[in-house]
Symmetry: C2
Amino acid sequence: MAADPLSRVFSALADPTRRDIVARLTVADATVNELAAPYDVTVQAVSKHLKVLEDAGLVSRSREAQRRPVHLEANVFDLMTRWIERYRQQAEERYRRLDDVLRSMPDDAAPRPTRQEGTPS
Amino acid sequence: MAADPLSRVFSALADPTRRDIVARLTVADATVNELAAPYDVTVQAVSKHLKVLEDAGLVSRSREAQRRPVHLEANVFDLMTRWIERYRQQAEERYRRLDDVLRSMPDDAAPRPTRQEGTPS
DNA sequence: CTCATACTCAACCTTTCGGTTGAAGAGGAC
DNA sequence: GTCCTCTTCAACCGAAAGGTTGAGTATGAG
């Protein structure tokens, strides 16, 4: 487990069961047994899933008698959101620029750009 | 490769090299060779990464002589953004509710809620 | 103390992942 | 045609993922 934080978050959410667990935790905290109930895998498997979510910082676990209530840490979503938004905006910006270029081009100019069309220094 | 779309997107982005490729593609389209240059892995490995990104719908490839320009499909980000935002908002909503409950509680009331504290019908 | 409950650890198995090398396909260049 | 370039396909390899069973730990209930 030496991956960077962003990789951990993304790969934690790459599993449908784990995403479902996250979804259910937005409603309320829950114990491992409660979380495991709906799935047809063993409790141990779910316990492993929770460890993955915990290592990614998406979830925290406290102690309460024998139970280990699992709690969603929604703030980690920010990391992803920031990453996604950054590139989405850049991509949109790029389309806008490309659009301008195309618009300001004489109709017969060869439209064969594939490399770099950024502001040329 | 039978995973659902969301899983494919998340696991495609769970790899740092692939995220870097996506980042570079926001600047401009690029060929496989160009994309492979900065990394110290073989071109074949990068070709595989591109296949993963393509299967996730994050990238498309056209044909242009022997070259296969790779193009970022930014709209797929929306799928993720929607998923994340949904749960983040629900989570925040939940904290707000919990806050209200705590605030409206007499100081000596036992603060031991772990299960369900939603509006009781 | 004994027993039951909630959970985790350890060992194992099978499949997937990320990488390699080597060969093959697809198109210009000559 | 022959060659050279860009890219993918195929077979293989080691490591990690996701699952299992079985034993061990922690805590409350009797």
